[in-house]
Symmetry: C2
Subunit: 692 residues, 2 copies
């Protein structure tokens, strides 16, 4: 069969269908048809997450030719992830198998890129009110033959006289609204002025409240804070998955996608802006009254002529609604790591991914919203936070202006653990930063049963040291296993915040030794050899009857190694930075990011994720990156701070530090030498700490 | 027949065809199908230029229903322009008759909006080199682990060190080219910097020559000057008709079109920018080698597989070609009167058309080319010249910075005669300006046989005082009638530059008296009553056998009145400004615009177009508005001058001046009191000057 032309593809269970070009792989086809398949590695054929089942047997009922080989031949890379049994029942890797004819495909639950439960609420932080965009109201006299001055000059003369604003310019899009607005307001109007320089929006009459959004673009999650810019109140916090996840889980996977796909950069960027438009809309819609289906006197929903339900507003009594629209948003600040920053702005990210990792630009940028395709007030400038160096980007700058270690006496270690880990160490005298490839393991990816923080994910666990029996709880269900019937758990896998819990418990209960290996002294039948791969050892966390995927959820020796690599990378980073700074202890540790919110700080200390510190001085600072975007939105002096600090943090490229590899090997052990961790003593029984 | 739905319309002789909505008028249908029909009055049913013939008899061969009335009923307004004979043969006014069914239409030659011969060549003027956009070349060292500074900061540090440029920003579109360009040039690159502030274009390696365009958007004609911005040389002068002419000939007609048609402003603006894109492309294409059809050894043109001729470049030997593309254009300056300015920028022009005529904005604007839809270097800013007041707009500012009366000792009167007349009087001590509604009569419109300066238009004339016999020449033919066979003349009408010649000759030969009336003493059969309207008197300039339109070209009493109104408006303006200034004579008169280039200054004085002045001190300064656009392109100090002078010229609204109407009535006479015109004496025989 020819590989040119079109093929009809149907994805089950979503039922999405359409025509695609023959020759593309199944993952690409899923994107084109709007089906999200996990591709953690960016289609490098190494994560095995994109398994799909080719449903050849079901073909005929869809009226397409059956019994043909409509995908490209089996490849050696697939053997690693697909067992002979699975292969026999039609499984393939979506990034390997190409569409060569009409196809019906089934996407198993574990391959679906599910809706994540995100937790990025706004914290109370102190911000001084001095936004880049401010409102000014003026009343002018109408023109006469004696004074036929034009509308713009008439307005700006009043803005200078009443508010001391000199040499104001105006964006063309806003200028076009001027003659209508000034007359609609009967010669009184309100102007939004950006940076005391340019008029970017006009309203007839007097207006006082106005609105802006601070956005934190994470590799995996995007959070946005809708603020009243007069009161500084956070009206709504909304979040979503980064739509680029389908191009690869981590930053290197996305850079690779760009380098291997012409137009890939534009596609990733456009997907992001489309997503941000949805997010802004979602934030604005939250300020409208809720809606419901209109009912008749019998309580039956009414349909209109087209058979659609009639939707009516259903405001709560006594409550007023702002009814904001995206065009009401007059200012936006945006932060993200250097790779997200570059991809978002369609700046070639390949060099920031190659030694010596120079970014295209450090300094902050003001880019017109309409140029970016962000559907807010079109004249508004989007403030893009500055980058530091390497992958330590605008998101870390957000953390810095939120936490302000550069004004602190105390020596702080700030750890922002996302898919990429960013570290800052220092105080008002000196600040150093670095990034470490923690990889997605700490977020649950690249593990046999790793998954995102979605319903069914194991998030807490306890293991009995005597019997090695397991109790746990999953996201979306309050009750632990002990208080549930097995079939009520509907377990699917282990999420990021659960993974440290699992490992700490495995260690504390003696299932795993200090080296990370399974210990010899196993007390249950949960420890076993993998049935398909006897050389791989594993420990069963949840039995098949507790799951919704019909198989045992296990943690393998390889999984433990992955987590050790991640925590080793993080700890090595902290240690090398302390060495560079010439200190052997820090005064406090701040953990930013969603990981910080969920992680149990004691278990993180047990696992040796970061240097020893009093447990009380280990603080979760929530989504500090998002807070920083909000700070820059409401206080323009912090934009100057951001540019200053971005150029005054000394960046350290860890991988070229002396004895990096030796340090890294040592850091993988659980836990570290006790003399390095005096505060651990109370947390872990001595006999466990000293077991071999 | 229903007036909803679609109708098929075919225009002959062009053969353009297509479907239009029923209910629209024929002029609108012509626009939609790309046929240019003259509509000098903006569809106000008063110019009668849009006559078309409904070809009902020819219907059947086009396969549409015949014998039906497929246009809306006859209207009283049409009687004024369409004789009973014409009506019988199917003539209708295109702005009156609506399409109610399928139609075949014939557009007579005189109704076609022909291709105009424009004469807007660049003059040699003195300009100081200080453009807003300048080029700078720098070489930087590549990044290392010790110095991993980003591309942008690396470049700007070098620009500061080597060229003293501080705090440079960069447009996002240009930033996106930076990583590729800096590496392509092996760490040497050239940056175009706008106003010493922003980087707007980058080239790998060293570049010295760069290019800009100055554009003068006239109501009727647009001229553009492509310049080498290093050498200041004008490489190409190109011009075109303003594509908005189809919406109305003068500024008020276009403002009316905007007010009566939702979306009309956007349409007129978009048509203009589309036209400007064509003009820029045309200017750039002139820098490519000419092309020719490729021939085989027998001299036969070769066709390709698709049957198209193979086109090859045919450069002249020894000549080098710049091969510029629109994206090579890095700066543009634009001038136009206030109405053109507003319509171009989609600024509501209704208020500038209503007393007290305030514009939306006076000051100059810098608008990103991509925002305007101008397809040049997308990061470039288009400099829009400032407006003065009323209709005296950015084009007059261009004239002022080109002629610089504000630096002159001499009292100058500068007259820019286009469809709208703009006047400036003054010197370095004081400048006043005003505009007068000369209307299109001086450009040949609104006259029985007026037409644009296109082939077949009478441009020069001589009338024998003894016999009243006429000799003349037409555009596109060197020989006068006297030296031609009548059928060689192919006369069509009288163009703007010919109209004054005609009237001056009619007067000098005694055909017309000082009052503007035909004199009693007629010496030829050329003077007659109009056959269709015996109350209208007319004088035959060209007999039917000398024309390509098959009928006598005449000038009517009404035509003469039109020209008297125009010249009266102009002269009144000059006189009232002199009164306001407290002077009774001027040192020099400068006539700008295409009219000034073609007009015979002696005849203009005879007609009393402007105040008396030594003939030698009456100067044509060509397209000074276009020159001013060029000045602002090459010397940014002149942009400051433009903003200064725009706010320091005192604008006078003539129509509200005391005894305006009395002055206007007096000014319509030809010529004026001899004591007002001492310099006329040598030009006109005394006996004629004093005849009643």
């Amino acid at each position: 069969m020819s590989e040119t032309g079109k093929a009809k593809v149907i994805f089950q269970p979503s039922g999405r269908r359409g025509e695609v070009d023959k020759g593309i792989n199944i993952v690409e086809a899923s994107r084109q048809l709007g089906v999200d398949i996990e591709t953690l590695c960016g289609e490098k054929k190494v994560c095995g997450k994109c398994k799909v089942r080719v449903e050849e047997g079901s073909f005929e009922k869809y009226g397409v030719v059956s019994g043909q080989d409509h995908v490209s031949p089996w490849q050696k890379e697939e053997e690693k992830f697909i067992s002979p049994e699975q292969r026999a029942s039609g499984y393939r890797l979506g990034c390997v198998a190409q569409v060569t004819g009409d196809l019906l495909l089934f996407v198993p639950e574990e391959s679906r890129a599910g809706k994540q439960v995100v937790s990025k609420a706004a914290r109370d932080i102190e911000i001084e009110w001095d936004p880049a965009v401010k409102l000014y109201t003026v009343t002018v006299t109408p023109p006469t033959f004696e004074d036929p001055l034009g509308d713009f000059e008439r307005m700006t003369q009043a803005l200078e006289k009443d508010h001391g604003l000199k040499n104001l310019s105006i964006d063309w899009y806003t200028l076009r609204k001027l003659p209508g607005t000034i007359r609609e307001g009967e010669w009184t109007l309100t102007a939004a002025v950006w940076d005391e320089k340019e008029i970017i929006k006009l309203w007839p009459g007097k207006v006082e409240d106005y609105y802006g959004i601070g956005i934190d673009v994470g590799t995996t999650t995007i959070a946005a804070y809708l603020c009243n810019m007069r009161t500084m109140q956070v009206l709504e916090t909304v979040s979503m998955m980064n739509p680029q996840c389908k191009y690869g889980e981590d930053v290197m996977a996305r850079i690779t996608f760009h380098m291997q796909n012409p137009g890939g950069l534009e596609r990733m960027s456009n997907d992001l802006w489309e997503g941000l438009n949805d997010l802004v809309k979602k934030a604005c819609e939250a300020t409208h009254p809720p809606t419901r289906k209109q009912k008749d006197e019998n309580g039956k929903s009414i349909k209109d002529e087209d058979g659609e339900f009639v939707i009516v507003e259903s405001p709560e009594e006594g409550k007023t609604y702002l009814r904001l629209e995206p065009s009401d948003i007059v200012d936006v600040t945006l932060g993200g790591n250097t790779a997200m920053h570059h991809i978002m702005l369609k700046l070639d990210p390949q060099y920031v991914g190659l030694a010596p990792f120079p970014p295209v630009v450090h300094r902050s940028l003001d880019i017109r919203a309409r140029d970016l395709g962000l559907n807010i007030n079109p004249s508004s400038n989007v403030f893009i936070m500055p980058n530091e160096a390497g992958f330590v980007g605008a998101d870390n700058v957000c953390v810095l202006i939120s936490e302000k270690p550069y004004r602190s006496e105390e020596l702080q270690l700030i750890i922002d653990i996302g898919t990429n880990g960013e570290l800052v160490l220092g105080n008002k005298d000196k600040l150093i930063s670095s990034s470490c490839a923690t990889g997605p393991a700490l977020e649950g990816a690249q593990l046999a049963f790793g998954m995102r923080a979605a319903p069914g994910a194991i998030e807490r666990i306890k293991i009995d040291p005597e019997t090695h029996d397991v109790d746990y709880k999953v996201i979306g269900r309050e009750a632990w296993l002990k208080y549930s019937k097995p079939e009520e758990m509907k377990t699917k896998g282990i999420c990021g915040s659960g993974i440290l819990d699992v490992l700490a418990e495995l260690y504390r209960s003696g299932v795993v030794a200090k080296s990370g290996r399974f210990s010899k002294d196993q007390k249950s039948n949960r420890f076993r050899k993998n049935p398909d791969n006897p050389r791989q050892k594993e420990f069963v966390i949840a039995w098949a009857d507790e799951t919704s995927i019909g198989k045992d959820v296990v943690i393998t020796q390889k999984d433990i190694r992955q987590i050790q690599l991640a925590k080793g990378a993080l700890y090595t980073g902290c240690k090398l930075m302390m060495r560079r700074m010439g200190v052997d202890k820090v005064d406090s540790i701040k953990i930013a990011g969603a990981f910080g919110t969920h992680v149990n700080r004691e278990k993180a200390l047990i696992m040796g994720l970061f240097p020893d510190c009093e447990v009380e001085k280990v603080l979760s600072v929530g989504n500090a990156a998002g807070d920083g975007a909000r700070v820059a939105l409401l206080d323009r002096k912090m934009r100057a701070d951001a540019n200053w600090v971005a150029r005054n943090v000394e960046y350290i490229e860890l991988t070229v530090e002396e004895d990096f590899e030796k340090q890294f090997m040592e850091s993988m052990q659980i836990p570290h030498m006790t003399d390095e961790f005096p505060h651990l003593k109370g947390l872990v029984a001595d006999e466990i700490l000293h077991q071999k």
